[in-house]
């Protein structure tokens, strides 16, 4: 199997689905970069290089560089999905959902329900998210909880290159609107990724690591933080299991309940803010379903309830670290 970056895994998926299905189109800001200019075409290959080469392969009708006009092109993508195309729209930074949330929340997410099941909206909205790039409060949020809260949306948050490809292929073939969230700091991570196409079903968590003393449930980029913590804990004789939900809507409740009942100690790690967040949501589920099996309180490791700061030392303190996870684990394992 080939080693590929998270970025290349996504690029593979986009190329193969565009080739497979002529109804798939892409739109977003600087998907190629250089449109209308005299210099290099496809100059950027997307703001993070994820969409490189698609313009050359599929042309400007299907790979559309848009104005900086999220409300218009996300709405247009929703309307195109309603009328026979299968658009993949890109919001460069998920923070920009602030200017097009109506089209996501009130329109695309609700068409099917409001119209009594007589419509489908096969729309993928890709967006980057997450802190670590020193980009300040409006380019670094982890907003998956907002989308997870909205019925009608599916929310995908891959943690590694293999999952990124399989989940994106599933998202494009899915008949419902999907929010697909890519952590900026994961693009250069490398892993085994098959060349052939494969899909990973939504709502199926991955057991990343088996252990017996504690289960760490981690979302998106926090899976690698949990893995670092688990390695250190193993050196101290504490055996941690790790589960990656992969999608927060639908959520694989069965696997989360099963592993909690088996182990009885749970730490949930999420880069989102704590209030009404995904960590709190999973915690509530497990408290309700697994109360008798719990041997200790459920511990949450999240960002603080603040915007993302700019200064490097503050931003580093904002994002959950392996040390924070280790501390949370020890607080319940040594009871």
């Amino acid at each position: 199997m080939a080693k590929k970056s998270f970025r290349q895994a996504l690029n593979d998926a986009l190329h193969s689905e565009m080739a497979r299905d002529p109804r798939v189109i892409m739109m977003g800001e600087d998907l190629t970069g250089g449109a209308g200019a005299n210099g290099v075409k496809d100059a950027w290959g997307g703001p993070f290089g994820v969409t490189r080469g698609l313009l050359g392969a599929f042309g400007p009708d299907r790979v559309r560089d848009t104005p900086i006009s999220e409300a218009a092109f996300i709405g247009a993508a929703a309307g195109a999905a309603l009328t026979g195309l299968r658009p993949i729209a890109e919001i460069m930074f998920v923070d920009f959902a602030g200017v097009c949330l109506d089209q996501i929340m009130n329109q695309a997410a609700k068409f099917r329900y409001m119209f009594g099941g007589r419509a489908k909206t096969p729309l993928v909205i890709r967006a980057t998210y997450g802190a670590g790039s020193r980009s300040g409060s409006q380019h670094t949020q982890a907003l998956h909880a907002i989308f997870t809260h909205i019925p009608g949306l599916k929310v995908v948050i891959p943690s590694n290159p293999y999952d990124a490809k399989g989940l994106l292929l599933q998202a494009i073939r899915d008949d419902d609107p999907v929010i697909f969230l890519e952590h900026k700091m994961l693009y250069d991570t490398v892993g085994e990724v098959p060349d052939a196409s494969y899909t990973i079903p939504f709502g199926e968590a991955r057991v990343v690591r088996d252990g017996k003393d504690v289960v760490i449930i981690a979302v998106g980029r926090m899976v690698s933080v949990a893995e670092d913590a688990a390695r250190s804990l193993a050196a101290e004789g504490i055996s941690a299991s790790i589960v990656d939900p992969r999608t927060t809507s639908p959520l694989d409740e069965d696997t989360l309940v099963e592993v909690t009942e088996k182990i009885g100690r749970v730490v949930i790690v999420d880069e989102g803010n704590p209030r009404c967040g995904v960590a709190a949501d999973i915690s509530a589920l497990l408290a309700d379903q697994c109360f008798d099996a719990l041997k200790a309180p459920i511990k949450l490791v999240t960002a603080p309830h603040t915007p993302v700061p700019y200064a490097p030392n503050l931003e580093d303190a904002y994002v959950p670290t392996p040390d924070a996870v280790i501390k949370a684990v020890k607080s319940i394992v040594k009871r």
């Binding site: 218009a72 247009a76 309307g79 195309l85 089209q103 409001m114 007589r118 599916k154 639908p250």
Partner: protein, 346 residues
């Protein structure tokens, strides 16, 4: 239909026509009857909904289209069955003009299982994709970008379809409307923006909140615009013909600024005290599209009163049937609460 009317050739009839109405009155008599039936159906549908609201049997509130009929009908008459429209919170008229079944619409407004959306959408979310009706909308101007998307589908799939985004004067001050003008122009989309200006955004006069002119806003995007008297269905039909033809032939977007009266308040529970009784009486006396239509067709002896009265009777029976059927229909089963959120979730 009297024999002498039928015996006249179209060329003979044309001689009697005022020049600015030539286009509309070239319609066949069957088409003219259809135009009148559609406008009359919308008017009586809305008046009846208002009456039924008073019984307390319709949930919530509705936004009534009465007064604006010539706009929806004049435009939709230029459309193919597979062309797309999107609508607004004031959407009943657009749906009827596009051919959505009035029995299912009335049932939807009553919240019944037999409604257009199974009772889950209500007045503000009536949609029938099979008729190209992409939805009324509870969010002002939100239909505009969605309609750009439908127009993009038509363009990329090469279907020759055209998409019409209906919106009100209030929508012109939403940012996404300007964004949609821009997108439609740079992508040369087969779209018509039909701005129905009834003078009020909810309870606030348009002139109090709108700067400049709507047509100049469109023209600043190099989108051709036409200002139309929306009480005359033939004038609307003619303007829509130009716009739809441009879109169909690859000429890109057009904006229609259509002046219409709004007979009722913003919504069915609005006592509408911000307009004077004199203004409202003058509006109904002087700007009634149905009276204006009757006057036109009688002046040129295309249709006589008996034919139009027969349409009125048929419409009355159809509305009675729609209300009776809606009242007799069941509410959705409780199991419907959790269905239709996703095509497939887990």
């Amino acid at each position: 239909m009297s024999a002498d009317i039928r015996s006249r050739t179209p060329q003979e009839m044309m001689k009697d026509l005022p020049e600015d109405n030539m286009s509309g009155l070239q319609l066949s008599q069957d088409k003219l009857i259809e135009v009148y039936r559609s406008m009359r159906t919308i008017r009586r549908f809305e008046e009846r909904v208002m009456d039924e609201m008073a019984t307390g049997d319709i949930p919530g509130n509705t936004h009534l289209y009465a007064g604006q009929e010539a706009s929806a009908v004049g435009i939709c008459l230029q459309l193919r069955e597979d062309d797309y429209i999107s609508s607004t919170h004031r959407g009943h008229g657009h749906s009827i003009a596009k051919g959505v079944d009035i029995d299912s619409m009335m049932a939807e407004i009553f919240g019944r299982a037999t409604g257009t959306c199974g009772g889950k959408g209500g007045s503000q979310h009536i949609a029938d994709i099979s008729k190209g009706m992409l939805g009324a909308n509870g969010i002002v101007a939100a239909g505009a970008p969605i309609t750009c998307g439908a127009a993009l589908s038509a363009k990329l799939l090469g279907t020759g379809q055209v998409a019409v985004a209906f919106a009100g004067d209030g929508a012109m001050n939403e940012g996404v409307m300007s964004e949609s003008f821009n997108l439609a122009k740079i992508w040369n989309l087969p779209i018509v923006f039909a701005i129905e200006d009834n003078g009020f955004g909810e309870a606030t006069a348009n002139e109090h909140v709108s700067a400049g002119s709507f047509t100049r806003r469109a023209e600043s995007y190099d989108i051709p615009s036409i200002e139309v008297d929306g009480t005359d269905v033939f004038k609307v039909y003619e303007a829509a013909g130009e716009a739809v033809e441009r879109a169909r032939n690859g000429g890109g977007p057009t904006m229609l600024h259509i002046h219409v009266p709004r007979y009722y308040g913003h919504y069915s529970g609005d006592p509408d005290t911000y307009r004077t009784p004199e203004e409202k009486a003058a509006m109904r006396n002087n700007r009634d599209c149905l009276s204006i239509f009757r006057k036109h067709v009688k002046e040129v002896s295309l249709l006589d009163s008996a034919e139009l009265d027969a349409v009125d009777e048929a419409v009355e029976a159809a509305i009675d049937h729609a209300v009776a059927a809606a009242r007799a229909a069941p509410f959705p089963p409780l199991s419907a609460l959790t269905t239709d959120v996703y095509v497939k979730y887990l």
